[in-house]
């Protein structure tokens, strides 16, 4: 578990909005990394979907590693 952090007040909008964008980006990379580890640990797409609050089909469609090849390969 990471250290608990107090979210700063949003009275500096430029910093707050930049943080919002960066958090969205970080969430997406954390989600992909967690899926990779879950699959390696034997989780099914049903398990992953349930953990993410989506159907197995939706989870697979959006997050299957074979759907994540770089465009230039």
């Amino acid at each position: 578990m990471g250290d608990v952090q107090q979210v700063p007040p949003a009275d500096r909008p430029a910093e707050a909005f930049a943080a919002v964008l960066a958090l969205r980006r970080l969430a997406a990379s954390l989600e992909r990394a967690a899926v990779d580890h879950a699959l390696a640990q034997g989780w099914t797409w049903g398990d992953i979907g349930a953990a993410l609050g989506m159907t197995p089909q939706a989870a697979h469609k959006r997050l299957a590693p074979q759907r994540r090849k770089p465009l230039d390969e």
């Binding site: 930049a18 980006r25 992909r32 759907r67 770089p70």
Partner: protein
Amino acid sequence: MSLRTKLADMSVMKKLFTAAEQEASRAGDGPPAAEHLLLAALALPDDSGRRALSEFDRTADDVRTAIGEVHAEALRYVGVEAGPDGRLDTGTPAAPPSGPYRSTGSLQVAFQRAVELSKRDGSSGIRAAHVVAAVAEPEHGTTARALDRLGIDRAALVEAASTALDEPR
């Protein structure tokens, strides 16, 4: 606008949008945004964008690095430390886009502005430096923060882009 110009614009547009999409995908980002359009413009065969940036002794790689650093710094503001480019190295990148072209509002606004600039100066179509000038204009957003991080004054970059367009190709 002549038919030749329209066709040239369509060709540049296709190259820009495809390259912006690839930049976003490689960086693990969602749909491409203005900062990805800037990187795409710096990769065009037309070197006017690269020449504008070189006035500040900077390259596309410097911009790419600065964008990651901007995200990392923004995360620290909310107490999150996530590496030098603000994301996890997952080994597997973001999903390649499929279906209709998706982009963020910031890319659309920047591209429309680049088209306006190209029409205004009577160019024979959109050039890389038009895109550089267009993305350098907004005061806020990831591109503005990345340029600031690189020590590039936005107004000076717009000026450098204008100068690059005036030089013979």
